[in-house]
């Protein structure tokens, strides 16, 4: 069992209620924008507290039954839709920000090769294009030795060629690292190509 999630949250004038279980590999959260997909990722990452429910990932209880692990104890590799790189750190320092957590499955050199980041290491985040920033954000998440990945529309700001590359990379991570991945998207083609299970979210 990779994801076993059942949460409810009242947020503004929207009610988010979702319940799903997935066995392994990549699970897609598929639905229109504004349907609360990002809020669900935030709840799993520990950045937003559900009103009630239970979150178990990879057999570990993250929330529920009196447990509420802080974000830093959940070991999520969260790739935000807006990359969210630290503006006062160069690319290399951004990549290594979470890397001191332990010996990861991937080293810096490997991630740099995988994502083609070699030429970017000395640059400031504000000088990167959207696609470059997104690749750095993915690398930063992978280097933090995550136990699972949360990807929030990671291909949204990439051109088709780069999106294909990143998709192959995500497939490799899925198959070689055996990391459970929760993938948010509103793009049918992406979801069909990547996902073993699909959770449809309605407004």
């Amino acid at each position: 069992m990779s994801f076993d999630v059942e949460v409810e949250k009242h947020l503004g004038d929207a009610d988010i209620a979702v319940s799903f279980r997935s066995v392994s590999g990549l699970t897609a959260l598929f639905g229109p924008s504004g349907s609360g997909k990002t809020s669900i990722l935030n709840m799993i990452a520990g950045l937003l507290t559900p009103d009630s429910g239970r979150i178990v990932v990879g057999g570990e209880l993250l929330f529920g039954d009196g447990v509420d692990l802080p974000p830093e104890a959940r070991h999520a590799g969260y790739v935000f839709q807006d990359a969210r790189l630290f503006p006062h750190l160069k690319v290399r320092a951004n990549l290594l920000y979470g890397a001191r957590r332990g010996v990861g499955a991937l080293g810096l050199d490997e991630v740099v090769d995988l994502l083609g980041l070699g030429a970017l290491l000395g640059r400031w985040p504000r000088t990167l294009s959207g696609g470059e920033a997104q690749r750095v954000a993915i690398g930063r998440a992978l280097l933090s030795s995550p136990r699972f990945l949360l990807l929030d529309e990671p291909l949204a700001s990439l051109d088709q060629a780069r999106a294909d590359e990143i998709m192959s990379m995500i497939e490799r991570v899925r198959d070689e690292l055996k990391l459970p991945i929760l993938y948010v998207s509103h793009n049918r083609a992406e979801v069909d190509r990547l996902a073993a299970s699909v959770v449809a979210i309605h407004r």
Binding site: G46, P71, E72, F80
Partner: protein, 230 residues
Amino acid sequence: MTLNPDDWEVIRLSLKVAIVGVLATLPIAFALAYALARGRFPGRILLDAIVHLPLVLPPVVTGWLLLILFGRTGPIGGWLDRVLGVTLVFRWTGAALAAAVMALPLMVRAMRLSIEAVDRRLEGAARSLGASRWRTFATITLPLSLPGVWAGLVLGFARSIGEFGATISFVSNIPGQTRTLPIAIYTAMQLPDGDSTLVRLACVSVALSLAALIASEWLVRRQGGRAHVL
């Protein structure tokens, strides 16, 4: 124009009072700015008002309140005298305290704006990458609010160098102890032969203030030019 030893004593004393006052206030000002920017606690508006009080109160009243509180028989001054053997009244340390109190609201304002401008989603990203609350503060929140810290230091320093009313009513006008630049200028104005002293010290004031402003611009530029003091 050459400065005589008395002038140098005034300048040294003013710099000492302003630098010690501002540096000692820095951690307090940052903690207050952080609490006001991020905290949601009862009495926040009252705390905000108290921090800003020296900005709107006549400085003479602030000085008188300091005298009541920190005088040798005052509730805080008496304790300092008995327990630590520290006296503030008529000493340069008292002048530094007066400068610090007057500088506090400006320092808190500058730092608070900077802390409020920090994107809290970046803190969430740091937490999800394994950083504790404390490491997130030290590596994300604090560095991103540094422009406000620099601005607060420069504003506080400039305010301290110019401090007059609270200082003279709290610690009086004692050469070598509490006669800072503005008080020395005021004294020179009272003397029939004080004109040349007046001109020299006024020129020093202009030079110090210009230097502080240029230093702050330089710091801002070095940081990538976002939060200008002016």
